[in-house]
Amino acid sequence: MNPPVLDIHNLSVDYQTELGPLHALRDVSLLVPEGKIIGIVGESGCGKSTLISTIIRLLAANARIVDGKILFKGDDLLGMGVDQMRALRGDEISMVFQDPMTSLNPVLPIGRQMSDVQHRGKASAAERKTRSVMMLERVGIPDPETQLTRYPHHLSGGMRQRVAIAMALMTEPSLLIADEPTTALDATLEVQIIHRLEQLQRDFGCSILFISHHLGVIAELCHEVVVMYAGEVVECGPTREVFLNPRHPYTRKLLECDPARIAARTKDLPVIEGGLPDLVKLPEGCIFRDRCDQSVARCATERPRLSGAGHTVACHAVVCHPVVCNLAEHPE
């Protein structure tokens, strides 16, 4: 078995602010095995942006990695020098962003940009062009030869995103990080794009770390899902398991809020009461306690840790219930 593509251990990241350190990520661990699509579900403030920035080592100036390790195919990412990281980015680790214009240069034609991405190889200009055309075909862009001469603003949003994906996969990376790539697109386009991604992942065999707050997209695309809340991982496991059998109260409430899952028409949609906790002055105990309807005494004093096998969850209330199977404390 090859080492996992991404292995994050107990990652904690703070931001220095005027009011004190903001604990954006606390003790985050997750695993991206080879050839799998892992989804991260989380709402605003859950820390997913910080997580990605930390993985690719492009953090803001006031960020500090307080603790933890990130192993990329066995190598320590956090210990790498600037040049090494730069060599990895765009080659072994690629990214697709929510706004395709983040990756596309508005003043260069598509063909030129796709050719530039291949700068590391020794291919000739003609070979690069052929490869660019092939990649555009793979992402479902009609008439790819002509598109090479066009500029990003000539293309629709859906097409731009496809080009961004084509560029990201061109170097056959081991890990593709997709940060809300379909959030800005219509539902029809969204479905098309995730199907393409699925197909491409099968063909190329890369791993994908897919971040989104669209539950439906995660359910369709990802093999496993990681649920994050306010800087912590609260639940983690095979997608089917987590969605059909959510164990953490946050996951459960989140799924309940999804209007797609509510069968009967209602004009009174569920919400999760309360708001995000202050990440500078962290509450004692469980981070979700104030909004939880199942808290027990322990929740006020002790921070729950991820436990379980396969389908893990960080919750005292769940663990205290005898009705769960196969619990073993996860060795830290």
Binding site: Y15, T17, L22, A24, L279
Partner: protein, 265 residues
């Protein structure tokens, strides 16, 4: 920080020139002409024995008076014209932009010479010329800012509510373009001061014996072989003003911009 300090010093020294100047800038003392800096005359004396330091201080008054008047007037007019161009109908925009470009394409010195030929040299001529050539600069900046704001959602929301153009310009456009405008004005001070000095140097501005940094420079240039000090003395304040206000403008920009874009984590 440096900017603030320099600007404060310059302003203080200029405003209180009358009290700070050790000598009367017009007092002639031919026996002591073109002397080097000494304890008595910090920057030496010029060709008529006048204390250069005192002349520099009073020259500062002129420089900053020109800057204040010229910039505030051209900024105000430029603001109005720029908003009209940016927010009004396209035909108005076209006319105004062509006017701005036409005025800007006149070489300033030529323009000044032409005006002087009509009205004779004076400080007001200088101020007038600077105003006319500066208006298009401010107007252009205001126009660009206004045009980009015009399409923003909050302006559309105001229109949807039925707000009048005047209200939109006053309450919603103006506050959002004020910051870049003030930064521009602050960076413009050295340019205006330099223009005044230049025009006075050429004899198009203040006339002798009124001290202006430009005339001091001119005198220094004429008597360079005798003593370098008048030239140096005329140049130093220009350097100080340029550095001071430029740093000041940059600090202003750093203070004002991040606040506008500040997002909560």
């Amino acid at each position: 920080m440096t900017g603030f300090v320099l600007v404060s010093v310059i302003l203080f020294v200029t405003v209180f020139a009358a009290w700070l100047a050790p000598f009367d800038p017009l007092e002639i003392n031919v026996h002591n002409r073109l002397s080097s800096p000494s304890a008595e005359h910090w920057l030496g004396t010029d060709q008529l024995g006048r204390d250069i330091f005192s002349r520099v201080l009073f020259g500062g008054q002129i420089a900053l008076k020109v800057a204040l008047v010229a910039i505030s007037v051209s900024m105000s007019i430029g603001l109005v014209l720029g908003m009209m161009a940016g927010f009004g109908p396209r035909w108005l925009d076209r006319i105004l932009v062509i006017s701005f470009d036409t005025v800007r394409s006149f070489p300033t010195i030529m323009f000044a010479l032409a005006v002087v030929a009509l009205t004779g040299p004076s400080l007001n001529t200088v101020i007038g010329v600077i105003i006319i050539t500066s208006i298009p600069v401010y107007a252009r900046v205001v126009r660009t800012q206004t045009r980009s704001l015009r399409e923003r959602d909050f302006i559309l929301a105001e229109r949807a509510m039925g707000a009048s153009t005047a209200r939109i310009l006053r309450d919603h456009i103006l506050p959002n373009i004020a910051a870049p405008l003030f930064i521009l004005a602050s960076m413009d001070v050295p340019a205006v001061v330099g223009m005044e000095a230049g025009l006075s140097f050429l004899g198009l501005g203040v006339s002798a014996p009124t001290p202006s940094w430009g005339t001091i420079l001119n005198d220094g240039y004429s008597y360079l072989r005798n003593s370098p000090w008048p030239l140096i003395a005329g140049g130093l304040p220009l350097i100080a003003v340029t550095l001071g206000f430029t740093f000041f403008g940059e600090s202003l920009r750093d203070i004002l911009d991040p606040k506008m874009r500040k997002k909560d984590q």
